[in-house]
């Protein structure tokens, strides 16, 4: 049965296809694109199949090669990763479709390289989501990171240096994570997450376990770009090719965040993370600063992509604010925000890629009158921007709503103010773009592309994915109650319920 094998197929299909891409490109270059889309489409179907299985009430345990855990590597899928799989593979598929025209314009000689690495990156991300083994997670983390370094480096002028800084910081992060896993292994003799969960509680007092937890948190914190470990992120997102930032910005940090949530709630119990160590307090302070600093830095930018990158720093703050508060509502808000932010950022980066494609620039102050040349693209931008600010009925409103309720339940009024204030800051930097694009008339002669306001919409293969994302923001927003009751309620750790 294919259905039984879906948990492993979502790794194998993109992995094998990425090796076939250079081969089929030998026959015809266009075939590499077709193969990528076919592979990602199949992956998306498999992930929907997994979600359906989990929603029927049975968590999936799949032993690789028939070796039972804890000896063999195990794939474990519960509500949390079943919820993340479809949107990770779905966004991979949409960005895959979107990327073709953008690549042909920006980096035509890297067309085949891109799809090869793109499938490997997807493999790494999906592998991190499904694995139930700490060391296996490290391997997939590095597969996704190394391909991301390479993809970022093929971008514009500043890209190699940005990629190099990312290599150095990312490697420190991965090495610290590996060291933490080593400490866990030396104390327990196992790498399986479920096994570790059973063995660790007796050892919670041990300083080695606490240091292991600290290493893993800081290591993944670098990958997540949690403030103040975010310094690699703005440059990397700004200089990467448009298609790459549209993929990396929504997904890389979210999947690493999932790994940290897994460590905090599944490998260790919430009791350890919140009561025995002051992780909740530290994370909430850090997240609060991240939200404000990210927003303020975003206001200071002229470059649309750099502005979005800093806004990512602040949105990651939201996710970890919810995790840090540690009550049911806040955690649901954080999980919901992982999905919402992936959709919003994907949509926004797609729009900035389309602007690069048609007008070759993304300077906010030169966007005057762009709504007349690209009305549909800018309309998608407006929907995503409203969602970032948190205006109902867009998806961004609902996750912020849950986070706000969470801060109130935890009696953290300071953080309530932080969320509300940052929504205003979000409004400042997004309305600035909308104002430039819609309200200021274009000056003839100042900007030749925009002069005259001739319709010059992005090609349909770029516009359609952008609009599917924008529509998803609205649909997810309207159905967020159902998502929470059917999936997320079960994804919150049992003790917190």
């Amino acid at each position: 049965m294919i259905g039984d094998q879906s948990p492993i197929l979502i790794i194998i299909i993109p992995l094998m296809s990425s090796f076939l891409v250079p081969l089929v490109a030998w026959l015809r270059r266009e075939l590499s694109f077709v193969l990528t889309i076919a592979a990602l489409g199949a992956t998306f179907v498999c992930s929907l199949d997994i979600l359906a299985t989990v929603l029927r009430g049975d968590n999936i345990h799949y032993s690789l090669g028939g070796w039972p855990p804890p000896w063999g590597i195990e794939i474990v899928i519960d509500h949390l990763n079943a919820y993340m799989l479809p949107f990770v593979s779905g966004i991979a598929l949409l960005v895959g479709i979107y990327s073709r025209r953008s690549l042909l314009k920006e980096i035509p000689d890297r067309f085949v390289h891109f799809y090869c690495l793109y499938l490997l990156l997807t493999t790494g991300l999906l592998g991190m989501l499904v694995t139930g083994d700490m060391f296996n997670l490290f391997v997939f983390l590095e597969i996704s990171s190394i391909t991301a370094y390479a993809l970022i480096a093929i971008g514009e002028d500043g890209a190699p240096l940005a990629a190099f800084n990312y290599v150095i910081l990312g490697t420190i992060g991965a090495s610290l994570y590996l060291l933490g896993v080593g400490y866990l292994y030396i104390m327990t003799g196992t790498l399986n997450m479920a096994d570790l969960r059973g063995l660790l509680p007796e050892l919670y007092g041990s300083p080695v376990i606490r240091i292991a937890f600290a290493f893993i948190t800081v290591g993944l914190g670098i990958k997540i770009a949690l403030f103040p470990l975010h310094t690699w992120l703005p440059d990397a997102y700004t200089y990467a090719p448009s298609a790459v930032s549209a993929f990396i910005a929504p997904l890389m940090t979210k999947v690493a965040a999932y790994a940290l949530i897994r460590t905090m709630f599944t490998v260790f119990e919430p009791r350890f993370s919140f009561e025995l160590l002051p992780v909740g307090t530290i994370l909430s302070v850090v997240a609060g600063i991240a939200i404000i600093v990210g927003s303020v830095m975003a206001i200071a930018q002229r470059d649309l992509k750099r502005m979005l990158a800093y806004s990512s720093v602040s949105q990651i703050g939201y996710i970890f604010l919810g995790i840090a508060l540690g009550n049911r509502l806040a955690i649901i808000g954080a999980y919901l925000h992982i999905l919402n932010h992936a959709l919003m950022k994907g949509c926004l980066f797609m729009v900035s890629g389309s602007l690069m494609f048609r007008h070759g620039m993304r300077d906010i102050f030169r966007l005057r009158g762009v709504h007349r040349t690209m009305p549909w693209t800018m309309a998608a931008f407006v929907i995503a921007a409203l969602s970032m600010i948190g205006i109902p009925p867009t998806a961004g409103f609902f996750s912020k709503w849950y986070l706000l309720l969470g801060t109130i339940e935890a009696n953290q009024w300071g953080l309530t103010v932080v969320i509300l204030a940052s929504s205003l800051l979000n409004a400042v930097y997004f309305f600035r773009v909308i104002e430039k694009a819609y309200l200021e008339p274009s000056h003839v002669g100042e900007n030749e592309h925009l002069a005259g306001g001739i319709r010059n919409e992005a090609p349909i293969s770029m516009l359609l994915p952008t609009w599917i994302m924008a529509a998803a923001i609205l649909v997810i927003g309207l159905s967020s109650g159902k998502i929470v009751s059917s999936v997320l309620d079960a994804a919150v750790p049992k003790v917190i319920q």
Partner: protein
């Protein structure tokens, strides 16, 4: 003192890690940063290999096909950390490869590998 001497491999691993960390943060030259990164990763390999060591134990291979009798784990060195490190070495090699390729791209563009000179040229 005995504590220090008996666990010398762990002290060396911490020392190596700090040397690598310093090189990554303190040095301006990109290749020196890269070397620091390698030292940092190698230190972790030393740590993992150290935890597998047992005095007086042998290689973890079953000689007499003693499938029916229980295996005494204290007679064998732990193979798992070594296997993990083989994978980690592969990861290290690919990271270094990608990083070197990026360094070459930077050199082709700026004709220098000093970070401050690159930042000045970028302005």
């Amino acid at each position: 003192m005995e504590y220090l001497v008996n666990n010398y491999n762990y002290w060396i691993y911490i020392l190596m890690m700090m040397i690598g960390f310093y090189a990554m943060i303190g040095k301006k030259n990109l290749v020196k940063k890269l070397i620091g990164m390698n030292i940092f990763q190698t230190a972790i390999i030393l740590y993992f290999v150290s935890i597998a060591v047992k005095s007086g134990a042998t290689v973890p291979i079953l000689i007499n096909h003693a499938f029916n009798t229980a295996v005494d784990p204290s007679k064998y060195a732990n193979p798992l950390p070594h296997v993990l490190m083989l994978t980690a070495i592969v990861v290290m090699v690919s990271t270094t490869g990608v990083a070197l390729a990026i360094v070459k791209m930077i050199y082709n563009r700026y004709k220098t590998l000093e970070e401050n000179e690159i930042l000045e040229a970028g302005k």
